[in-house]
């Protein structure tokens, strides 16, 4: 019997393939039910005009009961960097309550993409989180292992 996560992700994938992604969001890779990649672009006028970000999802077998591990992909040698945003660390980790305490199993991969897209769209000033250097130095590989403190509940 397939695990819940496989069944659920198969359904999400099918929906993406039949109905397509929202504007500015594109599925780059979904070869298995462990890691998916999306590209994200903020449409219209914004501080990120012309930038395309890569978003990585990692799922464990308990998805969607447990939240996916979501981060911006960073490949320094290929020139892939995380967007500069007060809630995005330079290693790609994102401080957003929806990925932590506010996660709900009824949310989907696409819903997360859209939320993060609008997080970028509403950004007023391009800057790194104040504790970026300190955090990145000791950050765990998996952002889910970090207990973020959500100082801004708009995301």
């Amino acid at each position: 019997m397939a695990s819940i996560s496989a069944k659920r992700l198969a359904k999400e994938l099918k929906e993406i393939q039949t109905e397509g992604c929202p504007v500015g969001v594109n599925l780059l890779r979904a070869d298995d039910f462990q890691t998916w990649l999306f590209s994200i672009e903020v449409m219209g006028e914004s501080l990120y005009k012309g930038e395309v970000q890569t978003l990585q999802f990692r799922f464990d077998s308990n998805y969607p009961i447990s939240s996916p591990a979501v981060q911006f992909l960073v490949r320094e040698n290929e020139g892939i960097r995380a967007p500069i945003h007060p809630h995005v660390y330079s290693n790609g980790h994102i401080c957003a309550s929806i990925l932590g305490t506010e996660w709900s199993p009824v949310l989907s991969v696409v819903a997360v993409c859209v939320t993060l897209q609008s997080m970028l769209a509403s950004c007023k000033k391009k800057e790194r989180p104040v504790d970026n250097d300190r955090y990145v130095l000791h950050a765990p590989e998996n952002p889910k292992k970090t207990q973020f403190h959500y100082d801004d509940d708009t995301v």
Partner: protein
């Protein structure tokens, strides 16, 4: 509390209800409770309490559950709500019944939403319109409209809707959750939005908000919450939904109806364990909300101790609240009975801990604040002092390596037969006489120190003096595990080599236990002496400390002796006498120190929370 309260528009009603306002949590745990509980582990049942003892009692998990039930019934009685909702309300208010009643009177809707009992968008039924059957959720097509009779029901306990409907403006229904085998749209098959399962037998399960998921998803979700996050707040899985699952809902998702088992033994067992863990979390939350209660810190133990006399911070400057939950042993080897002495060693160790601070052992005679300071000092200086903990030292006479493998501090070098004290490395001959002053630190060196370097050396030396002795007793206590094993062996041998019966050789065990206990006392006396201001009082304290230490070392040495069969009757007499003496000396130290705290006799050389600051001697 009876449940015949009727809602009254009279705002003064609850102000007049003095019995309610003054109902302290403590009242729930007073003496006559003991009959109900069936357990009573008072420290002293021989009558007069000693200065170093205090009253406390122990509760099992189900005893605490009974206390919780009482509070829940009380709230059910006044609010006329389902017990599941009453429990959520109490949990939200950290089990403060008075505050809960107050807040409820102030703004019931706000409270119900905050406590996760009602959804914010739920239409509010004002008390005067209580009978109108509204409250079906707007915009929720999946849910059946609630029937009026359901709306006016008040929990399974109330025998009928005709019973005075008390004061429930918004809390609805009997069922705190609803399994919806048929929904209005039952022609459409149900697909769980989480796992995407859509088998025909799949039933949607929802809290009052109507966010429906399959029971497997609920079970997985609850298990993740309880086991991985240790969280007893199970919110609805719906995005942004703040409703919290009542206990009965959690139960129904974990423990299947006996008529419809899930048929997977492994899963059933896992779910059963999750339910057990959930119940434990509920009890822990209740206990941590009540100043008079503390959960036993021993691993695997679920007992709770009540000790109202040590509940205030102020009391901790005059008492050391050492308590015991009544159980012994650890994990699987645990026994709930205090009488069951069991084996020696860890399996039989009593669950002693401090009610006033996180130290999970008996730190008498020193008060919590000073004990905490000392432990912090030890942590901060751990590197400097690490070498002391080693089990080997060099003989001060011939420099050969000597290993300590027992609790006794009287060492004899195998090579040169030099007899010395493990602690101070001085010749043992000085320790047997009235000159014995191994426990005392000579402050003169520190006073003479002029420059800062020798001053700091003197202060380190001073610390090491106390730390050394502290650590040594701790180490000896650890080695006492070996001593326990050795003693058991000796007891067996003794039965063979002498005519003594099992009962008659118990003197060995008694002695070992006493030594262990006294080493704990001694250990903490060094923490105390380190901070005691020098003077008459400290001298007297150290006199008592010395007498106890000397007695303990003597007894310890007797216990480690080779046993010759013909010597057993004499040994038995000696050990028994010494044990009684050691016990007496220990009592003197504990009693005098405790009395001193009550009288405010002890002065410190540093400032300690709750005590007068030391007189400035600089």
């Amino acid at each position: 509390m009876s449940s015949d309260y009727e809602y009254s528009d009279d705002e003064n009603y609850f102000d007049d209800g003095d019995d309610m306002d003054t109902q302290e949590d403590a009242e729930t745990f007073d003496e006559d409770e003991d009959d109900v509980m069936g357990v009573d582990f008072k420290t002293d049942d021989k009558g007069k309490r000693k200065a170093y003892e205090l009253d406390y009692s122990s509760f099992s998990q189900s005893d605490v559950e009974d206390l919780m039930k009482k509070d829940i019934e009380y709230i059910c009685g006044i609010f006329g709500v389902d017990s599941g909702f009453a429990a959520l309300l109490l949990r939200h208010m950290a089990w403060n019944k008075e505050r809960l009643v107050e807040k409820y009177m102030d703004n019931p809707d706000k409270l119900l939403v905050a406590a996760g009992v009602a959804a914010p968008e739920t239409p509010i039924v004002p008390p005067n319109r209580l009978k109108s059957p509204t409250a079906s959720q707007a915009g929720n097509t999946r849910r059946p409209t609630r029937t009026g009779s359901k709306l006016l029901g008040f929990g399974s306990k109330s025998s009928g809707a005709s019973k005075s409907p008390t004061i429930s403006p918004t809390i609805s229904p009997t069922s705190s959750f609803s399994v919806q085998p048929k929904s209005p749209t039952s022609s459409e098959p149900f697909t769980c939005p989480i796992c995407c399962d859509d088998v025909p037998s799949l039933k949607p399960v929802a809290l009052d908000c109507g966010h429906a998921y399959c029971s497997n998803c609920w079970t997985d979700y609850i298990s993740a919450k309880v086991n991985e996050e240790g969280d007893l707040i199970v919110r609805c899985m719906g995005e942004g939904c703040a409703l919290i699952a009542p206990d009965s809902f959690v139960h129904s998702m974990l423990i299947p109806d006996p008529t419809a088992p899930i048929g997977d033994a492994e899963k059933e067992e896992a779910n059963g364990n999750t339910w057990k863990r959930f119940q434990e979390l509920l009890v822990r939350h209740f206990v941590s909300s009540n100043r008079d209660l503390k959960y036993c810190p021993y691993p695997g133990c679920t007992n709770t101790v009540s000790c109202p006399s040590a509940a205030s911070k102020l009391s901790l400057t005059s008492v050391v609240p050492t308590v015991s939950c009544g159980a012994r042993g650890i994990g699987g080897q645990m026994t709930q009975s205090q009488q069951a002495q069991g084996n020696l060693g860890l399996a039989g160790k009593e669950h002693k801990f401090c009610f006033g601070c996180p130290i999970d052992s008996d730190h008498r005679p020193v008060v919590c604040g000073v004990a905490k300071m000392w432990l912090k000092k030890c942590r901060d200086d751990s590197e400097t002092a690490n070498w002391i903990k080693s089990n080997t030292k060099e003989c001060s006479n011939c420099q050969s390596t000597i290993e300590k493998n027992g609790g006794c501090n009287h060492m004899t070098c195998k090579k040169c037969k030099h007899e010395f004290c493990w602690v101070c490395m001085g010749p043992w001959s000085e320790h047997g006489t009235a000159w014995y002053s191994c426990n005392r630190y000579d402050e003169k060196g520190g006073i003479d120190a002029r420059d800062s370097q020798s001053k700091s050396r003197a202060s380190l030396e001073r610390y090491l003096h106390y730390y050394n002795r502290w650590a040594n007793h701790e180490q000896s206590a650890k080695l006492s595990l070996d001593l326990y094993a050795k003693t058991e062996k000796k007891m067996e041998d003794m039965q063979i080599t002498s005519a003594l019966t099992w009962i008659e050789v118990q003197f060995m065990k008694k002695a070992v236990e006493e030594v262990d206990k006294c080493r704990m006392t001694l250990k903490w006396t060094y923490a105390m002496a380190y901070y005691l201001a020098s003077g008459n009082q400290k001298d007297l304290f150290e006199d008592n400390q010395r007498d106890l230490e000397k007695a303990v070392e003597d007894l310890s040495e007797l216990l480690e002796q080779q046993i010759e069969p013909e010597m057993i009757p004499t040994l038995r007499q000696k050990v028994t006498d010494k044990t009684v003496y050691v016990q007496k000396r220990n009592e003197i130290v504990l009693d005098d120190t405790a009395t001193g705290f009550i009288e405010g006799r002890w002065k410190w050389n540093v400032s300690v929370d709750g005590f007068d600051d030391p007189e400035n001697t600089d």
